[in-house]
C-alpha cells in the first residue's frame, strides 16, 4: 500500500516517490516519519502517535536542496538532505546511510522543484483545478481606468504598445497625456531605460493630479538631454495646472549619480526647469536581499530573546520598510495637495512599483477593498512588469542568482504595516496577505509567473493556468477583516516611525511554535466570533422587526 494514502492531492498532481526518513525538526527534535513527493509538493508526516507533525511544502517553495554528510560521516542522523525554502525555513531530513538511500529522493526533488532547469513545465501548467470564479477576469485595464474617470479631455488611452512594440515590459494599454502624440511617445521611449516611458498609474478625482511611473532617463556620463522627454514631462505638469512637477527618484542620490556611468542617471535641474527632483533613498535589490537574509538568521530556527530588539535593528529590515513607506507617504501627500508626480528608480519595476502601489493604497480606498487590492497587484505589479520570474526564481535551480530579491515581500510587509496601523481600513485580513505570499512561490497558479505581460502572452498563461484569484475569490470569508469599515474620502497616512513598525511575526516566525503568534491565531477567533454574534443578532433582530411590521400591516388591514 502506498504511504500516506489518505492525503488528498490536487487535480493534476501526481505522486512520484515516497520514503521513510527522519525529519530533524528544530523545535521537536528528530521525528521518524514518512515522506512523499509529487510533482507539486513534499509531504511529511511523523509516525509518532503522541503528536503528529506534518509538513506540506509546495516544491515551488524550495530555493535550494543539498546533501548533508557522506556515506562515511559519523554521528547520528548526519546523513541526509538539507532543503532551504523561500518562506523563511529550512528542512532537514536524515536517512539511512546504507545503500545510497537518499539518491533517488534527492534526484526527484531536484527535478520537480526546479522544472524549468530540466526543460519541464511548471506545475501551474499541469494543474487541473476548477473554481467557481475565473480569477483572470478580476482585472480589466479599461474598466479600472474608467473607474478612475479616464480617458478624459487631458488624458487618453494609447494602444501604441498593443504588440509590445514600444516597450516589451509594459502592458498593452497605456494612459498618456492627451497632448502627446504617438510619435512623441516613441521619441521619449528612446531616452528612457528599457523604453519604459512615463505613463499614468493613478489620477486624483478632484484635483486631477496624477501619479506617473517610468524608468530613469538615459542621461549618461556626458549629461545627454532629450527635448522630447523634457517637453513630455512638461505636458504632464500642465495637465492639471501644477506649477512644479515633482519627480521622485526612489534611489539614494549617490546611486543615481553612479548610474550615469552605465548610461542612466536622473533629471537634471537645467534640463527640467519646471520640475523638482527628490531622492527617496531606498536601497537596491541586493541590499534588500541581504537584509532579509540577516533577518532569517535571527528568527530561524531560534529567536533571539534578550537582545531581540538590537538584533532586529541590525538587520535593517524595518528601516528599509520605513524608507519605502515614507517615500510613499511623500508621493501621496504631494498628489493629495494637487501636484502631479513622476516616480522612477532605475528600471521602474521594483522600487517604483512599491512606491506607486503604496501611495495608491493610501490615496484610494478602492484599493483597500478585497477586490480592489487584487486589481492593484494585477495592475501595478503584474501588468507593469515587476520581474517576478527573476526576483523569485520560479522553477529555477540557480539559488544564488543575483537577480533574486524579496521586493514584493517587502511591499506586502509595508501593506501589513498599514493594516496594523489602520485595523478597520482594509477589507482583507492578514491571512489573505500570507496566502498571496505563499502562492508567490508555490507555482500552483499562473498569477505571479514570468516577468511581464508579453512573455505571459507567449506562454498563454491565462488560458493554460489557473489564477490565484480563482482560489481566493471562491472562498472569500476566510480572507475578510471583520472590523472593516468602508470609508471612502480620507487619505490614510501611516506613521513611518520605528516606534510603530514591528516585525510581522505571523509571517516571518510562523514556523516556530514557541513564539506567540499575534492576534490572528489567538484572539481573532474570538473577535470574529464576537463580531459574528453581533451581526447575526443584528440580522435576526431586523428580520424579526420586518416580520413584525409585516404582521402589523396585515393586522391593520383586518
Amino acid at each position: 500500500m502506498e504511504l500516506l494514502a489518505d492525503v488528498a492531492l490536487l487535480p493534476g498532481e501526481e505522486r512520484i516517490i515516497d520514503k521513510d526518513l527522519i525529519y530533524m525538526c528544530p523545535f521537536n527534535g528528530a521525528l521518524k516519519g514518512k515522506v512523499f513527493i509529487t510533482n507539486y509538493r513534499l509531504y511529511f508526516r511523523s509516525t509518532d502517535t503522541e503528536s503528529t507533525v506534518t509538513l506540506d511544502v509546495p516544491l515551488g517553495n524550495i530555493s535550494r536542496i543539498e546533501k548533508m554528510g557522506g556515506a562515511s560521516s559519523r554521528g547520528e542522523n548526519s546523513y541526509g538532505l538539507d532543503i532551504t525554502c523561500k518562506d523563511m525555513r529550512n528542512l532537514r531530513f536524515a536517512l539511512k546511510q546504507e545503500g545510497h538511500s537518499r539518491r533517488d529522493l534527492f534526484g526527484e526533488i531536484f527535478k520537480y522543484a526546479f522544472p524549468l532547469s530540466h526543460g519541464q513545465p511548471l506545475f501551474a501548467f499541469l494543474s487541473q483545478e476548477k473554481f467557481e470564479e475565473n480569477g483572470w477576469n478580476v482585472y480589466k485595464p479599461m474598466d479600472e481606468y474608467r473607474r478612475q474617470g479616464l480617458p478624459n479631455e487631458r488624458w487618453r488611452i494609447s494602444f501604441i504598445n498593443s504588440n509590445y512594440e514600444l516597450c516589451d515590459t509594459y502592458p498593452t494599454i497605456l494612459v498618456v497625456p492627451f497632448k502627446a502624440t504617438e510619435e512623441d511617445l516613441r521619441r521619449v521611449a528612446t531616452f528612457r531605460s528599457r523604453c519604459r516611458i512615463p505613463v499614468l498609474s493613478w489620477i486624483h478625482r478632484d484635483n486631477q493630479a496624477v501619479i506617473m511611473r517610468c524608468s530613469q532617463p538615459l542621461v549618461g556620463m556626458s549629461g545627454k538631454r532629450n527635448k522630447d522627454d523634457e517637453r513630455y514631462l512638461d505636458i504632464i505638469r500642465e495637465a492639471n495646472g501644477t506649477t512644479k512637477l515633482t519627480i521622485y527618484d526612489a534611489r539614494p542620490n549617490v546611486n543615481a549619480v553612479a548610474n550615469k556611468a552605465t548610461g542612466g542617471g536622473y533629471e537634471g535641474d537645467d534640463a527640467y526647469q519646471n520640475a523638482e527632483l527628490v531622492f527617496l533613498d531606498i536601497h537596491n535589490i541586493h541590499v534588500m536581499r541581504e537584509s532579509l537574509k540577516k533577518l532569517k538568521d535571527i528568527v530561524y530556527p531560534n529567536v533571539e530573546e534578550s537582545h531581540w530588539l538590537s538584533s532586529l535593528e541590525s538587520t535593517h529590515w524595518l528601516e528599509h520598510i520605513k524608507l519605502v513607506l515614507s517615500g510613499a507617504i511623500q508621493v501621496a501627500d504631494k498628489v493629495s495637495s494637487g501636484n502631479s508626480v513622476v516616480v522612477h528608480c532605475s528600471d521602474g519595476w521594483d522600487r517604483t512599483a512599491q512606491l506607486t502601489s503604496l501611495s495608491m493604497l493610501m490615496l484610494d480606498s478602492y484599493f483597500r477593498t478585497f477586490r480592489g487590492f487584487q486589481v492593484l497587484l494585477e495592475k501595478e505589479w503584474i501588468g507593469f512588469g515587476h520581474k517576478f520570474a527573476s526576483r523569485i526564481g520560479h522553477g529555477d535551480k540557480n539559488h544564488a542568482d543575483q537577480d533574486r530579491s524579496p521586493i514584493f515581500l517587502q511591499f506586502i510587509d509595508c501593506v501589513w504595516q498599514m493594516t496594523k496601523q489602520f485595523p478597520t481600513a482594509f477589507e482583507f485580513n492578514e491571512h489573505f496577505l500570507i496566502t498571496v505570499l505563499d502562492h508567490l512561490y508555490s507555482c500552483r497558479f499562473g498569477t505571479f509567473l514570468y516577468n511581464c505581460e508579453s512573455v505571459r502572452e507567449n506562454y498563454n498563461v491565462r488560458a493554460k493556468t489557473v489564477s490565484l484569484w480563482s482560489l481566493i475569490n471562491s472562498s472569500t470569508s476566510i480572507y475578510m477583516n471583520p472590523f472593516y469599515t468602508a470609508e471612502s474620502s480620507h487619505v490614510l497616512y501611516p506613521v513611518a516611525s520605528m516606534r510603530h513598525l514591528e516585525l510581522w511575526v505571523n509571517y516571518y516566525i510562523r514556523w516556530n511554535p514557541r513564539i506567540r503568534h499575534q492576534i490572528l491565531s489567538q484572539n481573532c477567533e474570538i473577535l470574529s466570533q464576537n463580531c459574528e454574534i453581533l451581526s447575526h443578532n443584528c440580522e435576526k433582530l431586523s428580520h424579526n422587526y420586518e416580520t413584525l411590521g409585516h404582521n402589523c400591516g396585515i393586522l391593520s388591514c383586518i
Partner: protein, 736 residues
Amino acid sequence: MLSLGGGGAKSSKPSFVSYITPEEIKSEKEPPKKERHPNLLPGEVVFCSADPILKHTQDDVSQRGIFGTLLCTNFRVSFVSDETPLEETGSNLGDLISLQMLFCFVVYDEKRKMITGGMLKNKYPSKMIIHCKDLRVFQFCLTFTKEEDARKIFHGIAHHCLEPKSLKCVFAFSYAVSRSPEMQRSQRTVMFDSKEDWAQEMKRTKGNCRIVTENEGFKLSTRLPKYFIIPSSVTDEDLFKFQGKGLPIWCWSHHSGCALFKASTLPVPQEDGVIQRYMERMLDAAAQTHLYSLKIEDLSETLPTVQDIQQSYAKFKQFFLIDNSTDFWVSDVKWFSSVENTGWMDIIRKCLQKAVEVVECLEKENTNILIMEEEGTDLCCVISSLVQIMLDPHYRTLTGFQGLVQKEWVAGCHAFLDRCNHLCQKDKESPSPIFLLFLECVWQLVQQHSPAFQFSETYLTVLSDSVHVPVFSTFLFNSAYQRESTLKAESQHPQRGPLNCPAVWDWSVQFDCKAQELFLNPLYADKLKQDKVLRKVPRPKHQRQLSLPSSAFKTPPKKGFFKDETESLKKMLRVKRISRWMASPDSPAANTREFYEAWQRRPLDHHGLLLPWLDGPAVRLWMQRYLRWIPEVQILGGGPVAVTNKMAELLVQVQELRKKLDLKGCWQPEAERVQLQPRPLALARNSLRLSSAFPFASSRNWTFKPVIPTSLLQSLMLTDKLASQEDETTEVISLV
C-alpha cells in the same frame, strides 16, 4: 506675524512664530483685564499666576503657540488659554498638569538648565520646559510677561513642584476637608481593611490559614496590615517575636490546597541560632498548609534590585520626553537598541518569568510557595499579584483587579509614599517605579490575552497616571499604619472638619460615565459566553487546571519525610542561600518550557490558567502609555481605537433594533438579552475620526500634513559594495 527669539534682543534664531505681536496683545488685553481661572477643585488655592504666557503647541507642525495665563495652585500647574477654547471633541482624559512634575527645565539665553529644586538663579528665564510624570512635555515662553511676574511664576512652580515638602502639605488633605460629602463613593471594590474582607477572600479561595487580629492597633508591627493571614500552625509566641518579620503572610490559595505566601527577610542569622530556629518553625508552618511541601524563593537574589529598576526606568522614560520633531526623528534611527539598552523591557520579562516559575510550582507541583525579599513589600507584591492574575480569573475583572491592588499593595503596605516620591525628597535610594513595573507586566498580559481581561489598556494607563494625582488616599502612604495615624491626626485638627478622602477606585471623581466606559474591554470573553461555547463543544471539566502531570510530590506525607526537607533547608539557611529550586539559574526558560508547552497544547481558556509569552517579539512596548503625547506618532483614523469604535458601532446597532422591537412590545426572550453587554460606547456616534492617541491627546485637524521622517539615512550609510551595485548586474543598458 512676528518671529520671536528665545531671549529678546540677543537671539537671532527664531524658535517659534506667534500669531500676534506683543503690542497687539497688550492693546487687546488691557481693557477688560479679567481674571482667568480654571475650575478650581474644592480646597484648591491659586498661589501665583502670570500672563501673557506663550504656550508652545506641541501638536502643531507649524511650531506656533497660544497665549494665556499660567497659574500655579496647591494642586496643579494650569494654563488657561486666552482664545476661546476649541470645542472639545471626544472625551480627553487628561487636561491638567498635575503638580507631580519630573523636572523643570529653564532656558537662559537658549541654554538649558535642569531645575531640581533649590538651585535657582536670580536671572530672568526666557523659557520654561516642564516634564510631567505622565510623560507630557510643556514649553512656556516667558518673554511676554513682566519680568517680575515671570520670575514669580517660575519660582512658584519650582518651589511647589520640586522642593521637598511634608506629608501634611499634600493636596489630598485640603481637598478631603473641603469636599462635599454627597460625592460619596459607590464602593464595590474589596478594600481589605476589615477582618470580613480577609475572611471572605480566604473562603473564596478555600484557604485553610488563620486570620491574625492582633495587629489592630499596630502593636505587632507598623509594616503589616491591620488584619492578615498566616499558616494555622504559627504559635502566638512566634507571632510577636520579630515584629512580624519573617512571618509567612498568606496571599492566595490554589484550588489544590497549596498556598502562596510572602515574607520579609530577617537580619543576618545570629550565632545563637534563635533566628534560624524561628525561621525553621515558620517554614514548617507554611509547609504544613498542604502536603508538607514548600519551596522558597528569595526574590532579592534573582530579580533586579529596587535601585536597578529605578535607574532603568529613569533611562527608559527619557526616550519619551521629546519636545521637538528633530529629536524625535534622530532618536527614531536607533530606536530599538535604545529601548533595549535601558534594560526596562528585560526587567519586565524577568518579573513575568519569575511569576511563571511560581505559577508552575503551584499549578503543576502543588507545592506551597514562600517568596521573600528584604521588606517583602516591593517585588513580593509584583510577583504575588502577577501569579494571582495568571491563576485566578477573578483578578482579571475590573473590581477583582482593584481588590488585588488593595490586597497586595495598599493593605499589603507597599511604600507608595517613598517609592513614588510624593514628597520630592532628595533621597536617591527609595524612589522606584515598582507599582508601574507591575502595571507594565499586567499590560503585557492584557495585550497578549485581551479577551481574558475585563479592563482595557486605557484603564491601566489611567491607573498609572492616577498614582501621581494627589487627590486620593490610595497611593499616598507607606503603610496601613501610616494611613490610619495620619488620617486620624489630620481629622483631629481643630480648624478642620472630618476628612473625606476618596479612594482612586472612585473613578467618578476623575471621569464621567462616558469616559469610564473606556475602561472596559468590549472584547472581554464573558464567562457567560464562554459557557455557551463550551456547551457546544463539550470538554472535560477543569481540563486546564488538573491535567498537568504533577511529578514532584507524589510521595505520601510520611513522618520522617519533611524532616529531611527542613534539614536541607537549614543547611541552605546557614549558607544564606535559601532559594535554589529552579535548578540551573542560567536557563530558567528551559526549565519552564515543558510546563509552557503542555499549556500551549491545550485549547485556550480565557477563564483558566493564563501564561505570558516571553520571547523577544512578544514582550512589547506599552505604546499607549509612552507614546500618547508625542504628535509624530499619532495615527489619524487608526490605532486600536478604530477597532473599539467598530465594535461599539455594532453594539449600538443591535441595541437600536432591540429598542424598536421593544416598542412593538413583541420582544421577550430574557435569556438572549443577557448575552450582550448593553454598553454602547460613547465614541460610537462620533463621526469624527479619532487618532491613535485617543482618549489622551486631542485629535488634530483632519486637513493635516503627514509626518515625513527626517534623518532617514543616518544608520543606513552602507559601505557595502552591494549598495552601489546596479539593480541588474547581468544586463548592460544599451545606450541610444
